[in-house]
Amino acid sequence: MIEVDVRLDRGAFRLACAFRSDSGALALFGRSGSGKSTVLGLIAGLLRPDAGHVRVDGETLVDVAAGVFVPPHRRRVGVVFQDALLFPHMSVRGNLEYGRRFGARGRPVDADAVIAMLGIGHLLARRPGGLSGGERQRVAIGRALLSGPRLLLLDEPLASLDFERRQEIMPYVQRLRDELGWPLVYVSHAVDEVARIAHDVVLLDDGAAIAQGPPGQVLAPDGARGASGRFGAVSVLEARIERHDDAYGLTGLAHPAGPISVPGRLGPAGAPYRLLVRATDVALAVQRPRDVSFRTVLVGTIRAIDTDDGPTARVDLELRGGDRLVALVTRKAVDELALDAGDEVFAMVKATALDERALAYAPRVR
């Protein structure tokens, strides 16, 4: 349980942000400069608000009106910084053990289990200077965990990594959430990261929380527009594993709007998954398509068509079952198919567009 209601005035930048969340996997999402990291700094105690309060699990960490300010080292709030900020003069082991000294009063942590989970056992004797970006970030996560925080804040932990490294770290963060059940707040401007990690999303814009809800609602279609522009628009669908097609190496997921097919073998039947669908990977048809290669066909209704004199048009759909889906098609196609708000359409998604970065095991936490 985290409760934030803060104001901060730094000349050109004003933050006035309020939200509360019971989720163990909260994401603060918004473009650069929206105030995400500032909010994180306020929760960690690295910044002081001009007014307002922050409470975690009922404990007041800062309350300006009441004159309460718990310094960062007494908050038991761990932070994983974007650039890791490992201590360069200590070995990996030294870094990991740094917070152990003070972690006694915190959450009990099985150090060996954390080290094993993060796969950093073979790095213990090394210096941070010799580690790759991905390794450094894993050590930073381990260091924060071993200090026994009750809440783990991750500040764009993948932003300084390349694509491969990002895919390398992501599963560890998911395991943190699912296997250790560690409450975390994840700050990012990347839709795919937030869709994979978060159960609750607070959308920040210009220093204010402008929306909050499950990723499917907040990230797309309207929310994501603010953060990623037209070509970056994505949708988030919630579906369950239905069956495995081992002969073809596919997994079938059940969604109220229709069956979804993805490559690879995913978790057990019944497991909930979250799918990230890029607007550029969605095609539309006015009749149920036949004789096409698409294995995923979803039924929905057009809510709105957003277009200008340019070549593309954004079509927002409400799928059967309530999930929202956005498709980016040509304006010409919209005119030739005579698409209009209220029409029922069939949205097609290529299975091969749904690779590992688009899929996230998404158990409901709490």
């Binding site: 105690g45 690295l46 080292h73 360069p88 003069h89 200077g129 260091r143 925080p149």
Partner: protein, 232 residues
């Protein structure tokens, strides 16, 4: 073999003692002032900065005379030190150490301050989020990372102390065996008829000591960089 006279040895030993004491005794203060100047923000910071740098720009004789006024037996601080701790500075080797410390202080503070400013302050924030209280953060993060600067500052201060002449001779004069350090001895020799040989010998000693100190500091710096620097 060395060709040094007993008096030469006394001057050399005294110089090393004075420089070492001056350096070691002022080091904690220099670290404290450097940290405050590098990280803290408070009214009067510019004034503190100026006061620390004053001995660097004032004529050494002025510094020595001010020390004499303040720390002489009848000076306010000197009288108090004598009555409270029985510590006498004027015309003693301890006074020479004080003069050298004051003259070397700005150099030491500068070097340490620069190295602290070069440390990413967010490392301290990271340590705080791991539960480390401020003093522990300073001891385990800031200080070890500033070690090359601390070392450089100490070497500078030591070198300055070895060569200090003006403030020392004004404050504590040039008493053989008590306050006659190498520079004082060389000066005295040049003022003595037939003292050229002594002056030349002592000059050679001063050069040798300086080169030795430089080599030692270089070696130490390389060791420290290997321990502190990030390379595996």
């Amino acid at each position: 073999m060395t060709g040094l006279s007993p008096d030469d040895w006394i001057a050399l030993r005294l110089s090393l003692k004075v420089a070492a004491v001056a350096t070691l005794a002022s080091l904690p203060f220099a670290i404290g002032v450097a940290t405050v100047l590098a990280r803290a923000r408070f009214p009067g910071k510019t004034l503190l900065d100026a006061v620390v740098h004053l001995p660097l720009v004032m004529p050494p004789v002025v510094t020595g005379y001010l020390l004499l006024l303040a720390f002489g037996r009848r000076g306010p601080v000197g009288a108090w030190l004598e009555s409270t701790f029985g510590l006498v500075l004027s015309f003693r080797w301890t006074g020479a150490a004080l003069a050298c410390a004051v003259m070397g202080f700005p150099l030491m503070v500068r070097a340490i301050r620069l190295s602290i400013e070069a440390i990413d302050a967010r490392l301290g924030s990271a340590a705080a989020t791991l539960g480390a209280p401020p003093a522990w953060r300073f001891l385990t993060v800031t200080l070890p990372l500033a070690l090359p600067g601390v070392l450089a500052g100490a070497v500078l201060c030591f070198a300055k102390a070895l060569g200090e002449f003006g403030a020392t001779i004004t404050f504590v004069s040039s008493i053989p065996g008590e306050t006659r350090t190498l520079p004082s001895a060389i000066y005295a020799a040049t003022q003595t008829p037939g003292g050229d040989a002594t002056a030349l010998r002592l000059t050679a000693v001063a050069v040798a000591v300086s080169i030795g100190a430089l080599a030692l500091s270089e070696w130490l710096a390389r060791r420290v960089r290997r321990t502190v620097g990030g390379d595996a």
